[in-house]
């Protein structure tokens, strides 16, 4: 629910409640006042009637004054005046329909010419009731008018006042920590929004600087590690050349050497990832995936033959504009991945079309969740020589090129597909 909708709704309920209360109060007060006035009128009429009787003028607009019988004389002492509402059946002229009408009625007991009289005068309340209906109706119309007014006002306000808010919200949605430029926010003269903008600006700047220093750190750390690793490796290699090492020492040396190799491989891979992330491979050229795939397949020939894997290819000659080193790394990783996770006598199918590159390979089902597949150090296999970074590299290369990488697995056939035209496909989705 949008904020404006929420406040509008509150306004609406409040208005309805207030109007109902005020309409009720209006009806109550007005009725009381009117009744009061009517009662005065009735009193006056009664006087007229009494005088008529006193001076013997016959009048027909009121009930004929009646003499009180014994019991009534006892019940009602002199000068008793009773006001009450009453319903009287009245025939509507010309329609022949009987209808009850509401009347206000005054009953007075008076002694006139030494006789006790009951005087009854009435006034129709119909006009009063009409009045009440008019009040209700007009209240209702006012409520509606008010609501429409509020709605229009709110929409206008929302468009104008909330405009910077929604624009900034969109900008935040599209914000990426990898952006080098600070986020540019729509300014507003409303204090809350100003504060919000200020906070967002600080927060995003902090995020960006933290992110870039983290990237720098990992890149620098990797760089700095290269030299000591190189020294280690070269010293062991020199040591290996000496003729007087025995088998035991040789095994220990081998362990150190292999651990060093592993470390340096890990370091190299992390460095590559950091560099891809830092957009250091931005020079683009025309790359033929067809040639790259053929070249890498040749390089991996031994591995393919060893597992007796059947490779089927359907490669088009399309040219993609991208970084050559990244393209090479991508293909090498895709092929090595397809071989590494393959089974004996398995298959690899490579399809390269204008807008898509699809690698399918047979293999054991995934152990973990497919969502974790592209995460760093998430190993799907228990192989010792696997760093668990191959797919992370593939993903990273696709990300910087704005290609879409998809994975799915049907019946032990794992498929990785790279969509080159990410923007178009996401539009059609």
């Amino acid at each position: 629910m949008k904020l404006i909708e929420r406040t509008s709704r509150t306004y609406l309920w409040l208005s309805i409640v207030i109007f109902l209360i005020s309409a009720g109060m209006l009806i109550f007060v007005l009725t009381a006042v009117m009744n009061n006035r009517l009662d005065e009128q009735l009193r006056y009429n009664k006087e007229v009637l009494a005088k008529t009787i006193k001076y013997d003028y016959p009048l027909t607009i009121f009930d004929p004054p009646a003499e009180l019988n014994e019991s009534e004389q006892k019940k009602y002492p002199n000068d008793t005046v009773i006001f009450k509402d009453t319903l009287i059946l009245r025939a509507i002229e010309g329609e022949g329909v009987d209808e009850f009408e509401k009347y206000r009625q005054l009953t007075a007991y008076e002694t006139l010419h030494d006789k006790r009289w009951k005087i009854v005068v009435r006034n129709s309340l119909v006009r009063n009731q009409d009045f009440i209906w008019v009040i209700v109706l007009s209240s209702f119309i006012i409520i509606i008018l008010l609501l429409i007014g509020l709605w229009i006002l709110n929409t206008k306000i929302s468009k104008k006042i909330w405009y910077p808010f929604y624009t900034n919200l969109d900008k935040l949605k599209n914000f990426s920590v990898q952006d080098k430029n600070p986020i540019e926010l729509e300014s507003s003269n409303i204090d809350e929004f100003k504060e919000l903008n200020e906070s967002i600006r600080n927060l995003t700047q902090k995020l960006q600087s933290d992110f870039s220093s983290l990237k720098e750190f990992s890149e620098n750390a990797s760089h700095e590690m290269q030299t000591p690793l190189a020294i280690m490796q070269s010293k062991i290699e020199l040591l290996l050349q000496s003729n007087n090492i025995n088998q035991k020492q040789s095994h220990q040396l081998q362990s150190i050497y292999q651990a060093g190799k592993r470390l340096s491989k890990l370091n190299k891979t992390l460095l590559l990832l950091a560099k891809v992330e830092n957009q250091q491979y931005s020079t683009k050229e025309e790359v033929s995936f067809h040639n790259l795939i053929e070249k890498q397949l040749e390089n991996y020939e031994d591995f393919i033959l060893n597992k007796n894997i059947t490779v089927t290819k359907n490669l088009s000659e399309h040219i993609v504009s991208t970084n050559a080193i990244l393209a090479d790394t991508l293909i090498s990783n895709l092929i090595s991945n397809a071989i590494k996770h393959n089974v004996e006598n398995g298959t690899i199918s490579i399809i390269y079309k204008e807008d898509e590159l699809i690698f399918s390979n047979t293999g054991e089902p995934l152990i973990g969740a497919p969502e974790d597949l592209f995460n760093r150090f998430k190993k799907q296999s228990s192989r010792k020589d696997s760093l668990g970074l191959g797919l992370a590299i593939i993903k990273q290369i696709c990300d910087v090129n704005q290609w879409q990488l998809n994975y799915h697995c049907i019946d032990k056939l794992h498929t990785l597909s790279v969509l080159f035209n990410k923007k178009q496909t996401s539009k059609s989705n």
Binding site: T227, I231, S234, E237, S250, Y257, D302, N306
Partner: protein
């Protein structure tokens, strides 16, 4: 063959120098920009191994200087930064090859030898090891004058071994040489074994000796001296 090694890490500099000295290269060492500049101006080198990042200057500037002094000098750039910019810049400015730290000393030696062959310094076209003769330009190998048919991997393997003869070559270094350093598969060691077996058989068939020695599972050595 005179080589100048420019590297600010003394330990690494010493390792490189001692490995290459064994290969009958005359090695000189420079551990700073200043030192290197001095040596480049004063002497003539066939090969310069150049570290790009020096504390008192950039190797790129030294490269320019080298090319001004003697265009014939072969330059092999060594860098901890596997950055494309350095590589392209270096190769643009006339560097012949590029190697990233950490590297195998055998690989460094192999690169230097291939650089020497490409530049054809001594006019010696063939690489000869006793009865085995390799012609790098046509990639033909003969044993006792009789040609043998080698696969690309076998040829590369043989060349790597002969270039680094009498040295223990680790399986890792061989795997990287054959498949590139992206390789991440344990299987590759088995393949080395297979390729070596085939290579040995092919050489033996033509009456060649078995020069390959296994070093406790560590690696292999191509040598004509007995253990």
């Amino acid at each position: 063959m005179k080589i100048l090694i420019v590297e600010d890490e003394i330990e690494l500099l010493d390792s490189m120098a001692s490995y290459l000295k064994n290969e009958d290269f005359i090695c000189e060492k420079a551990s700073s920009f200043f030192d290197a500049e001095d040596k480049i101006i004063s002497f003539k080198y066939d090969i310069i191994i150049l570290d790009i990042t020096l504390p008192d200057g950039s190797g790129i500037d030294l490269l320019k200087l080298v090319k001004e002094q003697s265009a014939k000098t072969g330059v092999l750039i060594v860098s901890a930064k596997n950055s494309l910019d350095d590589k392209l810049k270096g190769l643009d400015l006339g560097a012949d090859d590029y190697i990233t730290k950490p590297f195998h000393l055998a690989e460094l030696n192999s690169r230097i030898n291939s650089l020497i062959r490409r530049r054809n310094f001594d006019g010696d076209e063939f690489i000869v090891f006793n009865e085995i003769r390799v012609d790098p330009s046509s990639k033909e190998v003969t044993v006792h004058g009789k040609p043998i048919e080698l696969t690309k991997k076998e040829y590369n393997l043989l060349l790597y071994f002969i270039t680094n003869k009498n040295k223990v070559l680790t399986k890792e270094s061989i795997a990287e040489h054959l498949w590139g350093d992206d390789i991440e598969m344990a299987d590759s060691y088995d393949f080395i074994y297979t390729h070596m077996g085939n290579l040995r058989k092919k050489i033996n068939k033509l009456g060649g000796n078995n020069y390959l020695q296994t070093m406790y599972g560590l690696g292999y050595k191509f040598t004509d001296t007995l253990k």
